[in-house]
Symmetry: C2
Subunit: 133 residues, 2 copies
Amino acid sequence: MSTTSESPQRNTRQRRAVAAIMADLEGFASAQQIHDILKQRGESVGLSTVYRNLQALADADLLDALRNDDGETLYRRCSSGHHHHLVCRQCGRTVEVEGPTVERWADAVADDHGFRDVEHTLEIFGTCGDCAS
Amino acid sequence: MSTTSESPQRNTRQRRAVAAIMADLEGFASAQQIHDILKQRGESVGLSTVYRNLQALADADLLDALRNDDGETLYRRCSSGHHHHLVCRQCGRTVEVEGPTVERWADAVADDHGFRDVEHTLEIFGTCGDCAS
DNA sequence: ACTACTCTCGGAAACGATTGTCAAATCCGT
DNA sequence: ACGGATTTGACAATCGTTTCCGAGAGTAGT
Ligand SMILES: [Zn+2]
Ligand SMILES: [Zn+2]
Ligand SMILES: [Zn+2]
Ligand SMILES: [Zn+2]
């Protein structure tokens, strides 16, 4: 019944290495940063491969992706379901947050103006307590 | 009283041309699109100049800027004060929206987690009534 | 109007994140 | 272990945006 004929997903050393990094990582990080971390750990993986695997993981909803002000895409492991992020500008520490009120408000506003197929983006940035010293 | 010692802002043909386009434009548009429009109108302006002037206008809070999924920066004239956008994916038609509830929620969430200097981004995307036919 | 001093313009080159290419390496079912 | 399909990775290409820098234009003062 499933209409999804996704790619086969082989279990390669590189795929495991990227997944392992993301499992540990606390905040959001760019593909290049992850590539650097891998190099430092000796588990070297080609840059293109890092990009490809991060995208695959994000497509499978195993990672959240967001773009920073510099236009870089940042990745982080995420829980399932719709949620947003409170991110520290300094250290990248991230808290997943939910807001049913906001969800309803966004849908209502869109509906009021006759918009359909609505979705939204919402991120909160700030300086976390630890970094405010 | 004003502490702003900003750049002198000369009144050039190019600056006027870009400002004129933005005054008319309904939805969000990219720098390159605006460059094309100018070319079509005969008021040709160098691409770098279009970029520079759009940034200047955005810095002066005369334009809103947002990034689309392709990583392009889109510009549109905006009213002053904090607000968000409801944007049609098809035609770019945009409605400025405000939500005091959302503002309070975002600040409260950040405060709960000890974050300071908080700001947020929020955009709503959908298909407008006209385009849903 | 003329000059001098800047600011601004614009075309080309530089940039940087991401994607495409494609031969070689690796998986994995048999 | 074999063989076909997938994945990798070094490199080139793409594309929006920024920077460079010599030429051009706005502006204040005369
Ligand atoms: Zn922090
Ligand atoms: Zn939401
Ligand atoms: Zn529309
Ligand atoms: Zn807001």
